[in-house]
């Protein structure tokens, strides 16, 4: 528990640092927001009034503190392009992106753990070789291209879903989940292939460990050695990988959203980048960072629950 608390404190500190640097970067590089909103021809009086309205005439640090306090309350400022609250714009997109990433995460785990064990148990057989080659290829398919292939195959040929026919989770939750399966699969496939490879390699390495020999010497069957002894050890590197994969999936959903025409955080981020709508860009980046930080912290905590050696070392 002490370890978990420590990790959470680290996470909060990292979050403050990350948001501060992002805030500074946007503040210095983005130029004068009032100018970008009103155009270069606006009168100085109107610019000054808008700067005051947006709070741009205050010192940076104060503005950051105000911004962060707002962030904690769920207030992300006002969009330059739409002149409405950013929170209202992105609030309902967060569950969409999060669902997709978590969905993909579950698919990755459900595919990779059994397949990894299976491949390791049939080491060097033709099944294992076949799985290795297929794995190697799937690892090389970018999620947006596997998304296109999935659309072509399941959407157009087998007609299992309507490409572009996104259903909001508010109107039809089952339909939403049904549609989201396909983008989630597109994100999950390459990661699952990597996980299979990792698990197979780790299990084969674990099999040659001394403690496995000890387990056999006690009269365990191969299956018992695998499930009671090796699996927990083999999962340690896998947990680290799963954590990194989840972070990648959260970020990767930005791209796959475009393939499946899903109105999530990705689309709003891209439009805001091209519109130079910095409060929105910043909010989306900070929220995705927060999700990534939370997933990293969770992984650290889960790892420490599996590996008893962690708590003492810290």
């Amino acid at each position: 528990m002490k370890y978990a608390a420590k990790k959470i404190v680290t996470m909060v500190i990292t979050l403050i640092l990350v948001t501060f640097f992002v805030f500074l970067a946007f503040n210095f590089i983005s130029g004068d927001a009032a100018v970008s909103m009103l155009g270069t021809n606006a009168s100085p009086e109107r610019l000054a009034a808008l700067r005051h309205e947006l709070g741009l005439d205050e010192p940076v640090l104060l503005r950051y503190v105000k911004w962060f306090a707002g962030f904690l309350r769920g207030d992300f400022g006002i969009s330059y392009s739409y002149r409405i609250g950013v929170a209202g714009m992105i609030g309902e997109k967060i569950p969409v992106t999060l669902t997709m990433a978590l969905y993909a995460f579950v698919i990755m785990i459900v595919i990779s753990i059994p397949l990894g064990i299976f491949a390791a148990m049939h080491q060097e057989g033709w099944i294992d070789r076949g799985v290795s080659v297929i794995n190697q290829v799937i690892m090389a398919i970018p999620p947006f291209f596997s998304g296109i292939l999935i659309t072509l195959l399941f959407g157009r040929i087998f007609r299992l879903f309507t490409p572009g026919g996104y259903v909001s989770y508010r109107t039809d939750f089952a339909g939403f989940l049904g549609y989201m399966f396909f983008p989630a699969l597109a994100i999950a496939l390459p990661k699952a292939a990597m996980a299979v490879r990792l698990l197979r390699g780790t299990l084969i390495r674990e099999y040659n460990m001394d403690y496995v020999r000890t387990a056999f010497s006690r009269g365990n069957s191969t299956k018992d050695v695998l499930y009671h002894h090796m699996l927990k050890n083999a999962l340690l590197p896998a947990v680290t990988f799963f954590g990194m994969a989840l972070a990648d999936m959260i970020a990767g959903s930005i791209i796959v959203e475009q393939v499946f025409s899903i109105p999530g955080l990705g689309r709003i981020l891209l439009t805001s980048i091209s519109n130079r709508d910095y409060p929105v860009v910043m909010a989306v980046i900070v929220i995705i960072s927060l999700l990534v930080l939370i997933s990293n912290t969770l992984v650290d905590i889960i790892y420490s629950l599996i590996d008893p050696r962690i708590n003492l070392n810290e």
Binding site: D210, T214, A215, S217, R218, G219, N220, H229, I306, D307
Partner: protein, 272 residues
């Protein structure tokens, strides 16, 4: 004393190279109930391979074994794995050289010591707990209630090896194979472990196959000894005789290799 294990003409061959490599030739061993036999030789002499074969732990496909290992009328080389498993950890147990890596790093000491009971007996939870507690006391671990909740990395090398011995002895096996059990430990701890093995052998009447490269250790522990070199048994007999009048050059070399320690260091009892 009755014979409990009869190994005859055991040959072990590796087939992972283009040319097969024989690591053990015509190994013979007759083990009587409750005796301690030493198996001595330098590394690569085939002593560990023979021991692993007896424990049923050489099951790789690229390995060929000939001869017979008969335990209570059953040939362990030819019987199905399901029958072999009933003997492993129940009648024949093994203790290994490196206690840290031989224990599972992510399981508690309790789980690992208790495991043979769960596999081989139908004892209930409380009975198993009592047995674990008593065997941990038996191997002279201080504060066994704390130790059983700990993980291997939290213990010292000597404590880990005691745990290994406890796990091997909990089913009161007929045969305990100890493969260089003290090589990874320092001298004072070594002495304690040797005394522990001797005591358990007396109390439980468990036969011990003690494998070592150190002839002086074998001399303090074993009645009989087999000297191995290059896969062959080159000399065998009563330890005392061989130690005092070795016939083979190789055995003489092994004896000469024993470091002459000041009497004080070896004789003193260490404390952990």
């Amino acid at each position: 004393m009755s014979v409990i294990l009869e190994v005859t003409d055991l040959n072990i061959e590796f087939h992972d190279h283009i040319i097969p490599e024989t690591v053990v030739y015509d190994f013979d061993l007759t083990l009587k109930k409750g005796e301690i036999v030493g198996l001595v030789g330098e590394s690569g002499s085939g002593k560990s391979m023979s021991a692993l074969a007896i424990a049923g732990l050489l099951s790789r496909k690229d390995m060929k074994k000939r001869g017979s290992i008969v335990y209570k009328g059953k040939d362990l080389l030819t019987c199905p794995r399901s029958e072999l498993r009933l003997i492993q950890g129940n009648d024949i147990s093994m203790v290994f050289q490196e206690p840290l890596t031989s224990l599972n790093p992510v399981k508690t000491i309790y789980d690992q010591v208790e495991e043979p009971l769960r596999i081989h007996t139908k004892l209930g939870k409380e009975e198993r707990y009592e047995k674990v507690l008593s065997i941990l006391k038996d191997v002279e671990l201080r504060d066994p209630e704390t130790v059983m909740r700990q993980y291997p990395h939290e213990l010292s090398g000597g404590m880990r090896q005691r745990v290994m011995i406890a796990s091997a002895m909990i089913t009161e096996p007929e045969i305990l194979i100890a493969d260089e059990p003290t090589t990874a430990l320092d001298v004072t701890i070594e002495k304690q472990i040797i005394r522990l093995l001797k005591r358990l052998n007396k109390e439980k009447n468990t036969a011990v196959i003690f494998i070592s490269h150190d002839l002086s250790l074998v001399n303090t522990l074993c009645e009989r000894v087999l000297v191995m070199k290059g896969g062959y048994i080159v000399e065998s007999g009563i330890t005392h005789d061989i130690f005092n009048s070795p016939k083979e050059e190789y055995t003489k070399k092994l004896i000469a290799a024993i470091p002459k320690l000041p009497a004080g260091i070896y004789g003193r009892d260490g404390n952990e």
